[in-house]
């Protein structure tokens, strides 16, 4: 017999109303541009032409771009894992002075704009290595250390040290314990971290734009170069699609890996950190902590210092001349840093509002809409699997004909940023919604609350915390967003990352110092945003956490 309809379910029209805005956003600003991109890639001049475009892509040069993209990602990933293991261990196992600071610094660096990291490595690397593969690898490692420390550290925290002791009593030396016991247990976490880092570095755009120079490009930069520098739209579109296919496969795989590692994590209770006991232990812990802090903070500190360097020594000129980049009387770069700061803040504000509203609505819709919700969920994760460059490129192509010629609209950039940020908002919010016991709603219903009222009274109040967290994240993403903005940005309304990159691409000490000054400003803005959110969250107790206790 057929199950009767649940009389307590939310009215379908209401659920649909929650979902309609997010669905519209995905369709209009993601799927439609993607279709336009596919049209360009497969249309005449593209694959169907099978003439110039396809043959111009099947060249040894392109082979080298793909090869470089893949191997720099692989080396970056392996190197980050190796460098990150020691700090992950120390932070997971020990309590020491500066532990919170180190963790905060690693996390803050992770959300820093890519262009800032590029600037920091130009500042810290010795002259000939300023723009080299070493600088790229260095920037990738520092960026992604937080991934290793967080993901692998989390598993390490749950790993019972007695297991290692047990192995030791059976005659295994420290290295063999690491090799035979610890690493195998950490493997799911290592794999998850590796997948994420590989994904980030494979699609690395800002770092490579700044540090690669014209001769060293990843696929992502090559798409940008062909579209905006060579005007070869079809080839760029084709490359975008090829990259999209790789990324979707990788994201699907990494999501699976992550799920597996979560299962193994939940099996063991978390263990508290302890203070290092012996002198040797203390020395080792502090050495590792200090070395990590040095690796992470030296480039940024050097960048800030070099903003004070001029041809005549120490000078505040770069800071006082932020607004005037005159090369010769009357000849300027057309850069207006103050307006760029304004544009950046404005974009960040609107992108945050959009991302939070749309991501929040989407999370609620996904949470309430059952099977259809999962489709929306997948749809909203797609932008995550699409590189930001592809998103911006697609929008630029799709919105180029009247009546939807929106290229000059100020809101196109915030929407692009919001698309990049929405998946993070949805993930954060859904996690919290999933942890709200459905019987709370049943309890409200037995007390006379109708379906919508019950939902409003006992589900919605849990939203503010994940939404505040995601607002901070969205603001940080928007402030540093460089890929989509590289396509959508227009003269006169450039955001900070765009003009920082433009200044960095010049060699003069004066212009470089201005770039370092602006990068310092952007770093401070981003860090301050994240810190403000942290403080706001810490000041209010989380009802969900309190409930679980």
């Amino acid at each position: 017999m057929r199950q009767r309809r649940d009389p307590n379910r939310l009215p379908p029209a209401f659920v649909a109303a929650l979902g309609v805005v997010p669905v519209a956003l995905v369709v209009v600003f993601y799927l439609f541009p993607l279709t336009a991109l596919i049209g360009r890639a497969l249309g005449p001049g593209g694959l169907r032409g099978l003439g110039d475009t396809a043959s111009s892509l099947l060249t040894p040069q392109m082979g080298r771009v793909v090869w470089f993209t893949a191997w720099q990602a692989a080396i970056s990933t392996v190197a980050t894992l190796i460098v990150g293991l020691a700090p992950a261990y120390v932070i997971a196992r020990y309590r020491f002075v500066g532990r919170q600071f180190l963790l905060a610094a690693l996390t803050a660096v992770f959300v820093l704009p890519t262009v800032v990291m590029g600037a920091a490595f130009i500042a810290v690397m010795p002259g000939p290595l300023e723009r080299s593969v070493w600088a790229i690898l260095g920037a990738h490692i520092v960026f992604n250390l937080a991934v290793v420390v967080r993901l692998v550290g989390a598993t390490w925290q749950h790993l019972d040290p007695r297991l290692e002791s047990a192995a030791a009593t059976l005659g295994a030396g420290p290295l063999r314990v690491l090799w035979h016991i610890t690493l195998p247990i950490l493997r799911p976490a290592l794999a998850a971290a590796a997948a994420i880092i590989w994904l980030f570095t494979f699609t690395s755009f800002g770092v490579v734009r700044v540090l690669g120079g014209p001769g060293r490009t990843t696929l992502e930069v090559e798409i940008w170069r062909r579209a905006t520098q060579l005007g070869d739209i079809s080839a760029a579109a084709l490359l975008s699609l090829a990259q999209l296919a790789v990324l979707i496969a990788l994201v699907a795989w990494s999501l699976r890996t992550q799920r597996r590692s979560q299962v193994s994590l939940s099996l063991l209770p978390q263990r508290p950190q302890r203070r290092p006991r012996t002198g040797t232990e203390r020395a080792a812990v502090y050495t590792i902590a200090a070395a990590t802090a040095a690796v992470v903070l030296t480039p940024l500190a050097t960048m800030a210092l070099r903003s004070l360097r001029s041809p005549d020594g120490f000078s505040l000129a770069a800071w006082t001349n932020l607004g005037s980049s005159e090369i010769r009387p009357g000849i300027r770069l057309g850069i207006d840093p103050w307006s760029a700061i304004g544009s950046s803040l404005q974009s960040a504000l609107w992108a945050t509002v959009l991302a939070v509203v749309i991501g929040g609505l989407a999370a609620l819709a996904i949470d309430t809409a059952g099977a259809r919700g999962r489709i929306l969920d997948a749809g909203l994760m797609l932008p995550l699997a699409t590189s930001a460059v592809t998103i911006g490129f697609g929008m630029l192509i799709a919105f180029a004909r009247p009546p939807i010629d929106w290229r000059a609209q100020w809101w196109l950039i915030p929407i692009g940023h919001a698309l990049v940020a929405v998946p993070f908002v949805v993930r954060t919010t859904l996690g919290v919604l999933a942890s709200v016991d459905p019987r709370l709603r049943a309890a409200a219903a037995t007390l006379g609350a109708g379906p919508i009222r019950a939902w409003r009274e006992v589900v919605v109040p849990f939203l503010w915390r994940p939404l505040v967290i995601s607002a901070g994240l969205a603001a940080a993403i928007s402030l540093g967003e460089f890929g989509a903005t590289s396509f959508l940005s227009r003269r006169g309304t450039e955001t900070l990352p765009i003009i920082i990159e433009r200044l960095l691409s010049r060699t003069g000490t004066v212009l470089q110092a201005q770039a370092f000054a602006l990068a310092t400003i952007l770093a401070v803005l981003t860090t301050a945003t994240v810190a403000a959110v942290d403080a706001l969250i810490a000041s209010r107790e989380d009802p969900v956490d309190a409930h679980r206790r």
């Binding site: 111009s56 060249t59 040069q61 080298r64 120079g213 014209p214 001769g215 060293r216 170069r225 579209a227 905006t228 520098q229 060579l230 005007g231 070869d232 090369i327 010769r328 009387p329 009357g330 000849i331 300027r332 770069l333 057309g334 544009s343 404005q346 504000l349 609107w350 630029l396 180029a400 004909r401 009247p402 010629d405 290229r407 000059a408 609209q409 100020w410 809101w411 396509f487 227009r490 003269r491 006169g492 309304t493 433009r502 691409s505 010049r506 060699t507 003069g508 212009l511």
Partner: protein
């Protein structure tokens, strides 16, 4: 039958309150996005040019175009005074970058008039439908030989000159070294690490110089560039950076040889802190390629009337005569009197390289691709 006056006025008040609220919301939105002036209706396209005191025309230009303080800017100010049209200058990077961006924004441009697309890039702009055809009133004074790149009045020639390797004469004199005299000399070991060129993907003189080497060496040009690379050639994205940041004479850099213009030496005379009899820099005549720069109206301009009037002005005698001593190029319009410093020190090579516009159009992408492969990777 009567309606209660109070109820009517109350509902009136209520609807008034609502409309005020809506207006406030709209105003807030507008204030938040002060960059968007899309509310402004485009001027009606009209054959009769009317003075429109409130209108602004945006001139998109490469980054060596002065935004203030020169005769060129004074001329533009006098244009504004005459017509009531303000001119805003939008610096769009190097020529290649500027044209690429114009192609991506074709039909919804960042400005109204574009200045300085040269004959190596003009075909790309035409193909991408960046421009709107318009023939300025005084265009008859522009010789036909300058027009070949832009048939049908799609763009208007505004300047010409030659792209040549420039030499810091003092630097070579100090070292008692003979300056190079030809393209081939540049690959000699004596001149290792002395030359800086521009990336042809983004820079117009860079592409012109590449075209010159193609004209000089034919199919062997890749070998020439491989030799140049082996000899330590430096590459910048744009001319400004190469000339004003890397060139020993003008930028305090480390390169005494730079790809620049045949008319750069007079600039050094004029900008010299003390009066000079001889130009401190010279030109290697055998490296020169003739370059014509065009201006045009950007398709989709918000202000077609203003754009046309500005283009008319760009080929007027008043503006053209300010070009030699500001941009250091020859005016495209015949019969403009040239200043003495310019005539004395500028070099018009007897026999510059020329490259057919059609050849540039078909081969440019391949050249750039191959050049990138040889020189940068």
């Amino acid at each position: 039958m009567t309606t209660s006056p109070t109820s009517r006025s109350r509902s009136h008040v209520r609807s008034h309150v609502r409309s005020v609220a809506i207006l406030t919301a709209v105003a807030l939105m507008a204030a938040a996005c002060s960059n968007a002036d899309d509310a402004e209706e485009p001027d009606v396209v009209d054959d009769v040019l009317v003075d429109d005191a409130s209108s602004t025309v945006t001139l998109v230009a490469y980054e060596s175009f002065p935004v203030a303080d020169t005769d060129l800017n004074s001329a533009l100010e006098s244009f504004s005074a005459q017509t009531g049209i303000d001119v805003e200058i939008l610096i769009a990077g190097d020529t290649g970058t500027m044209v690429s961006k114009a192609a991506l924004t074709a039909g919804n441009p960042e400005g109204d008039v574009i200045w300085g697309i040269d004959n190596t890039f003009i075909s790309r702009a035409i193909e991408a439908e960046v421009l709107e055809a318009y023939t300025p009133a005084d265009a008859s004074a522009i010789p036909d030989r300058l027009r070949t790149g832009a048939p049908g009045g799609i763009a208007t020639p505004v300047t010409y000159g030659d792209v040549c390797v420039n030499v810091d004469l003092g630097w070579f004199a100090e070292r008692d070294l003979e300056a190079p005299a030809s393209l081939s000399d540049l690959t000699e070991e004596a001149y290792a690490d002395l030359l800086v060129v521009q990336n042809p993907a983004s820079s117009s003189p860079g592409l012109a110089f590449l075209a010159a080497t193609v004209a000089a060496f034919g199919e062997d040009w890749p070998q020439y560039w491989a030799d140049l690379r082996a000899n330590g050639v430096a590459v910048t994205d744009g001319w400004t950076e190469a000339y004003y940041e890397r060139f020993t004479h003008a930028g305090g850099g480390d390169r005494p040889l730079v790809v620049s213009y045949g008319s750069s030496p007079p600039a050094e005379v004029i900008f010299a802190p003390e009066p000079l009899a001889e130009a401190p820099t010279g030109v290697i005549e055998q490296t020169c390629l003739r370059q014509v720069e065009f201006a045009g109206i950007l398709r989709g301009t918000d202000n077609p009337n203003g754009a046309r009037r500005l283009l008319d002005f760009l080929v007027s005698a008043e503006f053209q005569s300010a070009l030699p001593l500001t941009l250091f190029v020859y005016p495209a319009v015949d019969g403009i009197e040239l200043p003495t410093e310019f005539v004395d020190h500028a070099i018009i090579p007897a026999d510059p390289y020329t490259v057919d516009a059609d050849l540039i159009e078909t081969d440019r992408a391949d050249w750039i691709e191959e050049w990138t492969e040889i020189v940068l990777r």
